[in-house]
């Protein structure tokens, strides 16, 4: 069976174009990201005090990790409410009648949005904060490419975690609370709030068993050249396993949920 890609590419293009309408939102979005990076780096400069390196981690690594992880997190998002809103307002019924896959539509929509954010928000935010805070260059061109690849998998992990939350909307209707809790956990454990080098040992060991360290932080370590070939291969394997696991789980919940879909009114 050949999947026709055209409708999905159109979905992605529309999502991209929609972002262009709200210009002021977009400019403020860039500023928001840059300010958050400045704040985190300022706090960590205070923590470092007069030390140039702590636990063998120089301050420039910390600054680079914040510039990249906060900008990644701002650009590679998944909207938790695409499917959930369709269920809440009942528009999912018309979507289900269309001869295209609703899941691929959501994926296309998300990719369209993220491409916009990568080009229009991520790039300026990294350049501005990088210039002021001293972003280190990548270890090598190869490492930069590997970093980009592992980021794609990192995004897929974020996407499928979000998809599981969204699929829960068949039972919960309002998934705001679940989404907020999920985002809080990701923000602590993925290194956007505190670089994972500085976690207490017990927590660092525990995170190795979760998908959170390979979302944003592993790509940054690859970027900085902190991983050897073996570790890089292990990182990719781990990312793929988690993506598959979450994708299968998400699909399973979706299949269960679509059978008990219940819409009030309409």
């Amino acid at each position: 069976m050949v999947i026709k890609m055209n409708p999905y590419i159109e979905y992605g293009k529309k999502a991209f174009a929609k972002n262009l309408v709200y210009r002021s939102d977009y400019i403020i979005g860039v500023f928001n990201t840059v300010i958050m990076v400045f704040i985190q780096v300022a706090i960590w400069r205070a923590i470092y005090g007069s030390n140039t390196q702590i636990n063998g981690v120089p301050f420039s690594y910390v600054a680079t990790s914040f510039v990249l992880s906060i900008c990644f997190a701002a650009a590679l998002t998944a909207n938790d409410f695409v499917l959930a809103d369709k269920v809440l307002y009942g528009s999912i019924t018309t979507e289900l009648l269309k001869p295209i896959s609703i899941n691929l539509c959501i994926m296309a929509d998300t990719i369209g949005n993220n491409l916009f954010k990568l080009i229009m928000q991520f790039a300026p935010a990294v350049i501005i904060s990088g210039l002021f805070l001293g972003l280190l260059p990548p270890a090598s061109v190869l490492m930069l490419l590997l970093c980009v690849f592992s980021l794609i998998f990192g995004f897929l992990i974020v996407y499928y975690i979000s998809y599981i939350i969204q699929a829960c909307s068949f039972w919960f209707t309002n998934v705001w609370s679940l989404s907020v809790i999920k985002n809080s956990v990701i923000s602590i454990l993925s290194g956007t709030l505190i670089p994972l080098w500085f976690l207490p040992d017990w927590l660092a060991a525990a995170i190795k068993w979760t998908p959170f360290d390979v979302i944003y932080f592993a790509p940054i370590q690859i970027y900085l050249g902190q991983m050897n070939t073996q570790e890089i291969i292990f990182t990719f394997a781990k990312q793929i396993v988690w993506v598959l696991l979450f994708a299968v789980l998400g699909m399973f919940i979706y299949k269960k949920g679509i059978k008990k879909l219940c819409i009030a009114g309409g």
Partner: protein, 235 residues
Amino acid sequence: MRKLFEPFSFYFQHSKMLTKTRMQYKLDAFLCCIAVFVRESAGIVGVFLVLQTFNNIGGWNMQELFFLFSIIFLTYSFLVFLFSGIRDFSNIVNNGEFDKYLLRPRSVLLQIISANSDYFAAIGHGTLGLVLFIISANSIGTDWSFANILYLIITIIGGVLIQASIWLLFSCSSFFLIKTDSLKDFLYWNTRKFAGYPLSVFPGFIQKLLMFVIPFAFVNYFPAQYFLHKPDLAN
């Protein structure tokens, strides 16, 4: 005399109805409290984890930082309990529902304040604020005399009013600018995220922002300096 109490009875009538509507979805209400609590705790857990490895942030130890954060959460809890209406009324202006308030024979501001209250967020923030306060209050070396407790109460009332005024300023600007969400996001919500940290760790322009533009420094930092006798920013 009746006229004096009339606004209060108006407020209570509204609150009663509001509570009934909010309790329609009990599971959702409960999850909402938990979600707010978890979201706000994330920042605190971050501070806690950082201080497992390091001794202090800019000369402030964990208890002192928790005290700073607790004032932010406690004031915010009262703020959303009393003044959520002010936070959200730019939406009402935006979608044209503001007319109905203008037509009723009561003060517009009173109606706006009575019409909304974010109970669940108030519980979430309040719990976290109380926990942090209880953890820190005894170990920051403050003598909780009558005068100090009074000063704390005034600090909290002041903090609530400062933030309510900021909201009112932003919301009123929606009469002219129509949509002010991103401006509010930028200046209020973002600022609040780091208002719990001591002012002295930030570069100059952010200090100025917190003192003169969005005066969060007066909500928690300056009062905390009084309680903790901290010398930073002395010159």
